[in-house]
C-alpha cells in the first residue's frame, strides 16, 4: 500500500504544482459566475444555466485531469522516469494502481475546488440554500473520475503517447453516449463504462429533487469494480512490456 501511495503522491504533486491548473480553475469559476449575466438573454433562466455550466465545466476539468495522465504514463516510460521507479521494490501492477490513485486524488481535489467555488458563487448570486441535488450531482461528477482514470491507464500501457489522449477522449465520449449505443452490446455495458450513471444534470438543474444516497454509493462501487477489472487487464499487458 505504501508503494502505491508513494507513486500516487508523485502524480498528484506533479499536477498540483502546475500553475496552469489554478489558472484553469480560476477561468472555470469566472465562466460559471458570468452565467449570472445571462438573465436577460436567457429569459431569467440564468440560475439553471449557471448550475448547468458548473456541472459541464466540472466534468470537463475532470476529463482534462484524466487526459493529462494519458500523456504522463507514456512520457514517463519514454523518458526513463518509470524505469528508475520500477527498479525499486515496486511491482508493475502497483505502479499502475499508484498512477490511477494519484489521478483520482488529483481529480477529486480539482473537482472539489470547482464545486466549492461554484457553491460560493451561487450563494453570493442568488442568496439561496444549495439544493441537495446540486451537491449530489457534483459528487457524481467527482466519482466519474474513477472509471475514467482506469480507461486512461488501459490505453496508456500499450498505445503511443500521441494517440492515447485521442483514443481516451473518444472512449470517454462514447461512454457518455451509452444510451445511443444500447444496440452495440459489445460497447454498452461491456468494455466501456456507462458514464451516464454519473450524469444527473437534469435533476440538479430542473428537478431539484434529491437522488438516493444508495444510488450514489452503488454508482461509486460500480466505478471501483470496473476500474479493478480494467487495471487488472492493463497490468497483464504491462507486465510483458519492455520498458526503455
Amino acid at each position: 500500500m505504501n508503494e502505491i501511495m508513494a507513486i500516487a503522491e508523485g502524480t498528484w504533486r506533479r499536477i498540483l504544482r502546475m500553475r496552469v491548473v489554478y489558472f484553469l480553475i480560476l477561468c472555470v469559476l469566472i465562466l460559471i459566475a458570468s452565467a449570472y449575466n445571462y438573465d436577460v438573454l436567457s429569459m431569467q433562466e440564468h440560475k439553471p444555466l449557471m448550475i448547468d455550466v458548473s456541472l459541464v465545466l466540472n466534468t470537463i476539468a475532470v476529463i482534462l485531469v484524466v487526459i493529462s495522465m494519458t500523456f504522463e504514463i507514456p512520457k514517463e516510460l519514454r523518458e526513463g522516469v518509470a524505469s528508475t521507479l520500477l527498479t525499486k521494490p515496486l511491482g508493475r501492477t502497483q505502479y499502475l494502481i499508484g498512477k490511477v490513485v494519484g489521478t483520482i486524488i488529483t481529480g477529486l481535489i480539482i473537482s472539489a475546488m470547482i464545486a466549492v467555488g461554484f457553491f460560493v458563487i451561487f450563494k453570493f448570486a442568488f442568496n439561496e440554500q444549495i439544493a441537495l441535488a446540486m451537491l449530489q450531482s457534483h459528487i457524481l461528477v467527482m466519482a466519474s473520475i474513477i472509471p475514467m482514470s482506469a480507461i486512461a491507464v488501459f490505453f496508456s500501457v500499450f498505445m503511443p503517447e500521441m494517440i492515447t489522449p485521442i483514443i481516451t477522449a473518444i472512449a470517454i465520449w462514447f461512454s457518455y453516449s451509452t444510451e445511443k449505443l444500447i444496440g452495440v452490446k459489445f460497447l454498452y455495458g461491456g468494455i466501456l463504462p456507462d458514464l451516464g450513471l454519473y450524469n444527473f444534470k437534469a435533476f440538479a438543474v430542473y428537478g431539484g429533487e434529491q437522488m438516493s444516497w444508495s444510488y450514489i454509493g452503488l454508482a461509486i462501487l460500480w466505478g471501483i469494480i470496473f476500474s479493478i477489472f480494467l487495471v487488472t487487464v492493463s497490468s497483464l499487458i504491462f507486465r510483458f512490456r519492455d520498458i526503455k
Partner: protein
C-alpha cells in the same frame, strides 16, 4: 543461503521486436557470465554492444527472448531482491516538478526505509553526492551533472548489496568523476558489489578488479584485470638526446612513442634478440636506456580485442 555469485546468466539472449517485426540480429546473444561476490565488475563494449540491454534484463525492465539470469541468487523479477539493489540508469530522468528531497523521499518510501530514518538517510546521501544545498530545488532546473548526482544518491539510498551503474561518469566534470570513483570505492569497502558499465576505459582500469568485454551481443572475454592485462613484452625507455639509437631500434619495436620531454618509449615482443644486445651497450650501462616489463593498458587490450572480433566477423 547466500549465492556465490551476485550476477549469473545462462544463455541470456534478447532480440527486440515482436512477431513479424522481430529483428533478425539479437541485441544480446547467449550471454554467460558469473560475477563472484566482492568485486567491482567493469562491463565494457562499444556502442550497441548490448551492455544496456544486459543491465535492463538484469533489472527486469525488459524480458529475455531466451535464457535466464539470477541477481543475488534470485530471478530479476523478484521484488524483494530489489530492496538490496541500487541502480543508476544510463540517462537518469526524474519528475521535474519534484524537489530533490521529495524525489528521494518517494524512493525511500518505495525502499521501505522507516519514516524515522528517512530524513537522516536522505540528508546523508545528499551529503555524499555533494548536493545538500540543492535539497529543496526542483529537479527540472538541474544540469545533467546534477541529475547524475541525484541518480547516484537514489542508487545508494538503501545501502545496497549490489550497485548497478550504467555509464555513471557521463555528464560529470573531472571533479565529479573523482568524487564518484571515491563513492564507488567507499561502497566496495562497505561490502557492496559493483557492476559498472562505462566507456571511459582509464577510469574502469583504475576502479575495477574484473572486466568483461561485450561486442555485438557476444562476450569476447571476461576475467580479472591482472589475468587479462598480462605482461605482453618489454618496455625500453630511452632518455632524451639518444634519438639515433631510438630510430635504429624502432624498426623492430611493436610500438614507439616520443614523449614531450624528448625521451622515447619502445615496446618489444618478449624474448626479442635485440634486447640482449642492448643490455650490454654502453648507453644501457650508462643508464640512458632502461629495460622493464611492459604491461598492456586496458585501452590497448580493449581495442585489440575489438579489432580481432571485427576481423573474425568480416571473415
Amino acid at each position: 543461503m547466500q549465492d556465490d555469485y551476485v550476477i549469473k546468466t545462462e544463455d541470456l539472449s534478447k532480440t527486440y521486436g515482436w512477431f513479424i517485426w522481430k529483428k533478425k540480429i539479437p541485441s544480446l546473444d547467449k550471454l554467460n557470465i558469473a560475477i563472484p561476490r566482492g568485486s567491482i565488475f567493469g562491463f565494457l563494449g562499444p556502442n550497441g554492444a548490448g551492455k544496456t540491454t544486459t543491465i535492463r534484463l538484469l533489472m527486469d525492465l525488459i524480458k529475455p527472448s531466451e535464457g535466464c539470469a539470477t541477481v543475488l541468487g534470485m530471478p530479476p523479477d523478484d521484488v524483494k531482491t530489489k530492496h538490496k539493489i541500487g541502480f543508476l540508469p544510463d540517462a537518469p530522468a526524474f519528475s521535474p516538478y519534484l524537489s530533490a528531497y521529495e524525489f528521494l523521499n518517494i524512493c525511500a518510501k518505495l525502499l521501505k526505509i522507516p519514516s524515522s530514518e528517512r530524513k537522516k538517510r536522505i540528508n546523508e546521501v545528499l551529503e555524499t553526492v555533494k548536493m545538500s544545498e540543492h535539497v529543496k530545488s526542483k529537479l527540472g532546473g538541474f544540469s545533467r551533472g546534477m541529475i547524475q548526482r541525484i541518480g547516484i544518491a537514489q542508487a545508494i539510498l538503501n545501502k545496497p548489496e549490489l550497485l548497478i551503474l550504467d555509464e555513471p561518469l557521463v555528464g560529470l566534470d573531472p571533479h565529479g568523476r573523482l568524487e564518484l570513483m571515491e563513492i564507488v570505492r567507499d561502497q566496495k569497502k562497505r561490502g557492496t558489489n559493483v557492476f559498472f558499465c562505462s566507456h571511459i576505459l582509464a577510469d574502469v582500469e583504475r576502479m575495477c578488479d574484473r572486466i568483461g568485454i561485450l561486442y555485438k551481443g557476444k562476450m569476447l572475454c571476461i576475467g580479472t584485470l591482472s589475468e587479462l592485462l598480462s605482461e605482453k613484452g618489454t618496455r625500453l625507455s630511452i632518455k632524451p638526446g639518444h634519438d639515433n639509437m631510438a630510430k635504429e631500434l624502432m624498426v623492430e619495436a611493436l610500438s614507439c612513442n616520443k614523449l614531450p620531454d624528448g625521451s622515447w618509449e619502445l615496446v618489444f615482443p618478449e624474448n626479442n634478440a635485440i634486447l640482449e644486445k642492448i643490455r650490454n651497450t654502453k648507453e644501457a650501462l650508462a643508464g640512458a636506456i632502461t629495460v622493464s616489463a611492459s604491461k598492456e593498458s586496458l585501452e590497448d587490450f580493449f581495442f585489440r580485442k575489438i579489432e580481432i572480433a571485427k576481423k573474425e566477423k568480416s571473415s
